[in-house]
């Protein structure tokens, strides 16, 4: 049953891909080749999941249906792999590189290990995600759309590190005047959720897919209360409700309702800048900087074909979330938003990291 489903889907996909990729296929042909999609993380992380999801679809959509294999090059929080990719040149178009928010943040914060330059690379695909913060039942009862009643509670949060994506929730809670103490050193958001479930932590956040899989059941059973999402960006760059969670208010709404939290000024600008860099454009796929245009076009067409498959919305929502996938010019624009943080925002965050957590990045 499931096999025949798959076959049918594959055939539909192939037809769609053939139709869309036809113009590019005239120039570039990957028949018999193997494309290596290098991920600077281990086999076990979210980026691996992301690449493994796209790899077979990309393989069907590229001219000549090459084999696409995902390779892993973990190390130094992804900076090792990114530094390596910086040294790579175009060979025959069979090298693709994927990054995530964890590669973007060290770059934005001028981590001393960063020897790569995003602007040297050619983006061919970008995709985003959202995030949801939630409270335990006891403190959740005090939450009324504003954080006013939460300011006297001491919160514990299992964190992967203040310079990672956790910067976004930690700064948000601080802006709301909440007293959140991070317990550092956990290995993934799943461990953070477990700490929450054991009652050791009383506040947590998950990216959208993690929330849907593991935390939504806690909310259903009354053990957790959703607090806010980070929101999503509309076409004009405004923060609006996350389409995956239309019923949960955004941090912006909660901030507006909370005494002392401002949605203007340098703290807000800094938070927004890092949110934009970390969530709406979280994962990007790149080709080396000197790749010829026809190869770039072939990849762009292929990713476009993938996102335009009839069943894409269906299969992707379960695996990578209901968020837009950009290709071509869309991914270039996405890269711009993801890797440009103005100097004031950067200075604010660096100073905050130093004062709140004693972290100095040089």
């Amino acid at each position: 049953m499931a096999i025949s489903n798959f076959t049918r889907r594959a055939v539909v996909g192939l037809i769609a891909a053939a139709g869309l990729a036809a113009p590019a296929a005239a120039e570039v042909d990957f028949s018999g080749k193997t494309i290596e999609w290098v991920i600077p993380f281990s086999e076990t992380g979210g980026s691996a999941k992301w690449a493994n999801f796209f790899a077979p679809l990309l393989s069907e959509a590229l001219p000549g249906q090459p084999t696409v294999v995902v390779k892993f090059m973990p190390g130094a929080g992804s900076t090792k792999g990114a530094n390596w990719f910086q040294e790579q040149n175009h060979d025959d178009g069979t090298l693709l590189f994927g990054t995530s928010g964890s590669t973007q943040f060290p770059y934005l914060l001028s981590d001393p290990r960063v020897r790569y330059e995003y602007n040297d690379w050619i983006p061919v695909m970008a995709s985003g995600t959202g995030g949801v913060a939630y409270l335990n039942a006891e403190d959740g009862a005090k939450f009324d759309g504003s954080a006013n009643a939460l300011k006297d509670t001491n919160f514990i949060y299992g964190s992967q590190g203040a310079t990672r994506l956790d910067l976004v929730p930690l700064l948000a809670w601080q802006m709301l005047g909440m007293n959140v103490e991070p317990v550092f050193g956990i290995k993934g958001r799943g461990d953070g959720r477990l700490m929450f479930e054991r009652g050791e932590a009383n506040i947590d956040y998950q990216t959208s897919s993690g929330y849907l899989g593991g935390s939504a059941p806690l909310v259903e059973s009354g053990q957790a209360v959703p607090m806010m999402t980070w929101g999503a960006l509309d076409a004009d760059g405004n923060i609006v409700r996350d389409p995956t969670f239309p019923d949960i208010p955004t941090f912006k709404e909660v901030c507006e309702a909370t005494d002392g939290c401002e949605t203007t000024g340098e703290a807000w600008d800094a938070w927004k800048a890092f949110f934009v860099a970390g969530f709406p454009v979280q994962k990007l796929a790149f080709l080396p900087g000197d790749t010829p245009q026809e190869v770039v076009d072939a990849y762009t067409a292929a990713f476009q074909a993938v996102t335009e498959r009839g069943d894409f919305a269906d299969i992707s929502s379960k695996r990578v979330g209901k968020y837009p996938v950009f290709s071509g010019d869309g991914s270039k624009a996405a890269l711009q938003t993801a890797t440009n943080v103005d100097d004031n925002a950067k200075a604010y965050v660096l100073n905050w990291l130093k004062e709140a957590y004693g972290v100095e990045l040089n």
């Binding site: 499931a2 086999e43 493994n52 999801f53 190390g75 514990i156 590190g161 799943g190 899989g213």
Partner: protein
């Protein structure tokens, strides 16, 4: 009771799913692939599963599960080959097996050790599955009862096994474990990101050393070098004694030990965050404590094989609980497994809390596919063990170059860095000297393995406890001294006391003769120098990052204190005292025809050549030179063996889509794949 009412139909549905010829076919296929990958030390399930991933997209769920589980299940079974036959710990699951398995192989009892190990593995897997069938229904609250203080105590229980493995001079064992812990802290701290004994200029060190490299360096390299120096076969006299049937009989005679260790395996495996790193040591400790005549441990006691092997397959079953119920992988291969499950079918199976409610039949299928894969894998392994055991009768000079090839490749796979080979050599050197001067190598390895959990759980538990204490004293005490913690403290104290009493009888390195003062003293001073540098280095971390410095400071100070006492003892005691144990004075190493440094130079040459021309070219040169010059084979033989070695290497790496370490040559010119 309500849950059990839904469980029975789900269980029969699960068997209905499993017992289809095509499902069993996929399972066997997975098992065979798993065995092929598992005999390769250091690769394990992660490489195998990654290889299967592209095929999982849209595959019928039960077929995909059968294939993947077949592969994952047999890795802890098949890596026993490397542990027993070559003394190479294939993965963290088989570290303790090396302690008695390899000495048995040296006595010519490889087949017996293997089949005892496999019978235990099989039994452990089945006990694990049976236990899980019940337990998984009530597991959630129990798993949640294990908070940070509980996990810290289990880690300390694992660490307390050092007492039993410390050797004749307990202080040396404690210092060795302390050194292991300190080596484990090298790199970027988890909590605050401070660097310990590392610099951003050497990015390799910031990630810390990998377990595979330390395991190979501490156990495999010293044994390979020692055997190569003696120029004999692994099995003394090149004869095989007891056969595979004896091993099965040994297991049957110790069935209750096997039962207890299986339960230990499942229970510890269930706790997320600990993984397999402590299970086999706790099982080994239990085996020692529950054995009347302890004099054979470390020299080839079959109970020392049965215990850990019973626990490590049961642990795989236990590890399914956090993986399936919480979506939190217990190990690297489980993490890929979770990712792969999402690709299966129409993507409806989502690991997490819903596995019990909506997919109980699938959950049970996974549990029993795992058990069934164990059965199939074990039968294949036992069938093969008699033949494979013959490897131990080959003159070691012919095996050694291929072992150097294998461990170099395995080390490189752990991090894909050229520095991996260098690290392997340096750790190997430390291993050689720990062995020579009778410092407990298992204690060092336990320290290294548990370094990260000890530090992480201590810091996190301390932080949350102080938070609770601030709320109220009662709440803090309740958190820190939960009933589970108290039980674990009692167990730990008892095992330390028993351990210290028994440690003197367990001589993992055999009865090492003592000699002059000079060499052991120099080694002690070198260790002290390292500890002092590490202490100074840790002390330089600013105080606001206290979480990053406190553990290295405390552990380093305790280890240094032990070393100072040892130093005083060494100055006061006469030459020939047991404290000056030195393998180069008397025994196999001392009478070996080849010297240490000239033998080690062969391995060094392989690494140096790799640095220049890349792994495969270096390997061709190394194999030819070694076989021709050191082994003295004919040209024909040399070329045939070299071709076999290179062919095998390329076949495995090609099938698994792995690269080889590149050298300077590869930086300058672009070469086709195997040479790349």
């Amino acid at each position: 009771m309500e849950v059990f009412a839904t469980a029975v139909p789900a269980l029969s549905d699960a068997w209905g799913l499993i017992l289809q010829p095509i499902v069993l076919g996929y399972l066997v296929l997975g098992v065979v692939m798993g065995l092929a990958v598992g005999v390769f030390p250091g690769l394990g399930g992660i490489a195998g599963l990654s290889l299967l991933l592209p095929f999982m997209f849209g595959m019928d769920p039960i077929l995909g599960l059968a294939l993947m589980i077949g592969m994952v299940a047999v890795v802890p079974t098949s890596d026993t080959f490397a542990s027993v036959l070559m003394g190479i710990p294939g993965s963290s699951a088989s570290q303790a097996t090396v302690l008695d398995g390899f000495p048995m192989a040296k006595k010519g009892e490889a087949a017996r050790a293997l089949s005892a190990a496999f019978a235990s593995s099989l039994f452990g897997g089945l006990v694990g599955a049976t236990f899980l069938t019940m337990f998984i229904l009530v597991a959630r609250p129990i798993v949640l009862a294990f908070g940070l203080p509980e996990m810290l105590m289990i880690t300390i229980l694992g660490l307390s096994m050092v007492a039993i493995l410390a050797g004749r001079i307990p202080l040396k064992g404690v210092a060795a474990a302390g050194l292991g812990l300190m080596v484990g802290t090298i790199g970027e701290a988890d909590a605050g990101g401070s660097l310990r004994m590392a610099t951003y200029d050497i990015p390799y060190l910031t990630d810390g050393l990998k377990l595979v490299i330390v395991g190979l360096g501490i156990f495999a390299v010293p044994e390979i070098v020692s055997l190569l120096r003696q120029d004999r076969s692994i099995a003394k006299g090149a004869s095989l004694g007891a056969g595979w049937l004896d091993g099965v009989k040994d297991w049957a005679a110790n069935i209750w030990l096997s039962v207890r260790c299986s339960i230990i395996g499942v229970v510890v495996g269930v706790i997320p965050g600990l993984g397999g790193s402590v299970v086999d040591w706790i099982a080994y400790g239990h085996s020692v404590q529950s054995t009347k005549d302890k004099s054979n441990f470390g020299k080839g006691e079959v109970r020392g094989v049965i215990g850990p092997e019973s626990s490590n397959n049961a642990k795989e079953g236990g590890g399914l609980v956090p993986t399936l119920l919480f979506g939190i992988p217990g190990s690297g291969s489980m993490a890929i497994f979770i990712g792969a499950v999402a690709l299966l079918g129409s993507g409806d199976i989502e690991v997490g809390p819903s596995m019990l409610k909506d997919n109980l039949d699938i959950t049970y299928s996974i549990v029993w596919l795992l058990a069934l894969a164990n059965v199939v894998g074990t039968i294949l392994c036992i069938a093969a063990s008699g033949g494979i055991a013959k490897l131990t009768t080959i003159r070691f000079t012919y095996l050694a170059p291929f072992l150097f090839m294998l461990i170099s490749f395995a080390a490189f796979q752990s991090g894909q860095n050229s520095e991996d080979l260098l690290a392997l050599f340096v750790i190997g050197l430390i291993g050689i000297f720990l062995r020579r001067f009778d410092w407990s190598r298992p204690a060092f390895l336990i320290g290294f393995v548990l370094s990260n959990p000890v530090e992480k759980f201590t810091n996190q538990a301390f932080q949350i406890a102080s938070f609770r204490f601030r709320k109220s004293f009662g709440e803090g005490m309740e958190y820190v001294f939960s009933p589970i913690v108290i039980v674990l403290i009692v167990v730990t104290v008892v095992s330390v006391i028993l351990g210290i009493r028994q440690a003197k009888m367990i001589m993992a390195e055999g009865d090492v003769q003592a000699g002059t003062k000079r060499a052991p003293l120099i080694f002690l001073l070198v260790i002290m120098a390292y500890l002092i540098v590490a202490l100074v280095n840790a002390n330089m971390i600013p105080d606001y990052n206290m979480t990053d410095k406190i553990i290295p400071l405390v552990i380093g100070s305790v280890s240094l204190f032990c070393c100072v006492i040892l130093l005083i003892q060494m100055m006061r005691r006469p030459e020939g005292d047991v404290i000056f144990a030195d393998k180069e004075i008397a025994g196999e190493d001392a009478s070996a025809p080849h010297g240490l440094w000239s033998t080690l130079a062969w391995f060094a040459s392989l690494i140096a050549a790799t640095w220049v021309v890349g792994f495969i070219l270096a390997l061709i040169g190394f194999l030819i030179a070694f076989l021709r010059i050191h082994a003295g084979s004919s040209w024909q033989m040399t070329l045939i063996l070299t071709a076999c070695g290179i062919g095998f290497m390329c076949l495995m790496a090609g099938a698994l889509n792995r690269d080889f370490p590149p050298g300077l040559l590869q930086d300058m010119v672009s070469l086709p794949w195997p040479l790349k």
